[in-house]
Amino acid sequence: MNRFFDIPSDLQHSWLGLVGLHLREALLPVLAGLVAALPIAQLCVRFRWLYAPVLGVTTVLYAIPSLAFFVVLIDYTGQTELTVMIPLAVYSLVVLVPAIVDGVRSVPQETLAAATAMGLGPVRRYLQVQLPIAVPAIIAGLRVATVSSISLVSVGMLIGNQGALGNLLQDANSYHRPELAVNSVVTTAALAILADAALVGVRILLTPWMPRAARRGGPGPAEERPEPSVPALEGALEDGPQALEDAR
């Protein structure tokens, strides 16, 4: 085990250097994906008909294997970090758009009406009401995007050793040092778990209004269920006793 952190010199990095490189190659694309996903999601919320085609396109993009994506991009961007980061940004985008759309759509209508009544314009309403309420859904999407991005960087090893910690896998194979592969897997998993925990921390900081024992499950349509309290009851009173039973 004393050779566990003994990184072969052909990688030209220390263990910590590889960790830094890995984080950069994984997190910058997620950031880029988030920056691109916010306006796209907003367009999908504004124009409902846009959502289905956007979902279709993103699903196809997500189905392209990362390795094939990397190899095809070599023709344009060479065997560089950028070739690894572009597909990761696209995958992040694909995960984030539905998460953000679901989150923004889950904002109750009366909340929006209250914001408008208080004199908020569309921009301030978006920034100060819709986005903060959508934070849990957005963070849930970010967690999936970040973790899978950290995991996928390793595949970059196949295109000219651009895989940061994944490069250890190649060396483990060629130098017959399995501990390097263990190091790669364990370190990558640890990075992913730490990043995930950091995002949960961010969520708790950004949403002090949420109950402390909030559910920590993955993202999904089930996560953001609007409370059917007030509007359901109002409707029930108009519709008669039968609907009142339904509302319960």
Partner: protein, 222 residues
């Protein structure tokens, strides 16, 4: 245009349609790996998700397991298993199953938790036992979400099964890895296209399964 040209060249080359390295053979291998991995993951994920969701216990533990499963890098796991276990199916199945279990597990749990409690109470009131409540009330209502979990697991498996080629197994990844080392761009693009098409067909299959299996009362747009 460039890419389309390569796609066309790949599929119109007659030699790509025959033999052990032909498209039908590789496609069959890929589907076999994917089905096996999805089956194994479903055998692990579905019962656990259904039971924990039914009793509403262990959600946090599930979330932890799912996070750990997502955090393990598929490619690293594949190479590690290959180094430790040698050539074979097991080194490929381990990362694919680890990849597929979290979405199935979490979505199934969430689906069971999000079932409207009033029909469940009604079923209990009618004297249904736990297993009948689970299979005749909760499962049909939760089915659309459960299917969506299986669907995203299947898509991820299909796209990730390509890495099996790196450890000398077959599947559509063969084209991508071989093309990479032979500098044969056409092969890479062709292989990627096949994988994407397979994923789309899978989406169609799950859509059809949803039409077929989900009861009409549950299938309201949402």
């Amino acid at each position: 245009m460039n890419v389309l040209h390569f796609v066309n060249a790949f599929f119109s080359d007659g030699s790509h349609w025959h033999g052990y390295d032909g498209i039908p053979a590789r496609l069959a291998e890929h589907i076999r790996y994917s089905l096996l991995a999805l089956g194994l993951a479903a055998v692990v994920g579905l019962p656990v998700g259904l039971l924990t969701g039914h009793y509403g216990r262990g959600g946090n533990a599930l979330a932890l397991i799912a996070t750990a499963g997502r955090a393990l890098p598929s490619f690293g796991l594949l190479v590690l298993m290959f180094i430790l276990l040698g050539f074979g199916m097991v080194p490929v199945m381990v990362p694919l199953v680890v990849l597929a279990v979290p979405p199935i597990l979490v979505t199934t749990y969430e689906a069971m938790r999000s079932v409207d409690p009033s029909p469940v109470d009604a079923a209990r009131g009618m004297g249904m036992g736990e297993s009948r409540v689970l299979f005749q009330v909760e499962l049909p209502v939760a089915l659309p979400l459960i299917l969506s979990g299986l669907r995203s697991a299947a898509i991820q498996i299909i796209s990730t099964a390509t890495i099996a080629a790196y450890v000398s197994l077959g599947g559509l990844g063969r084209y991508i890895v071989d093309g990479l080392y032979q500098l044969d761009y056409e092969k890479v693009v062709g292989g990627a296209t096949l994988v994407a098409v397979l994923a789309l067909v899978t989406l169609g299959v799950f859509w059809a399964a949803g039409r077929f299996a989900v009861s009409p009362g549950v299938r309201r747009g949402g």
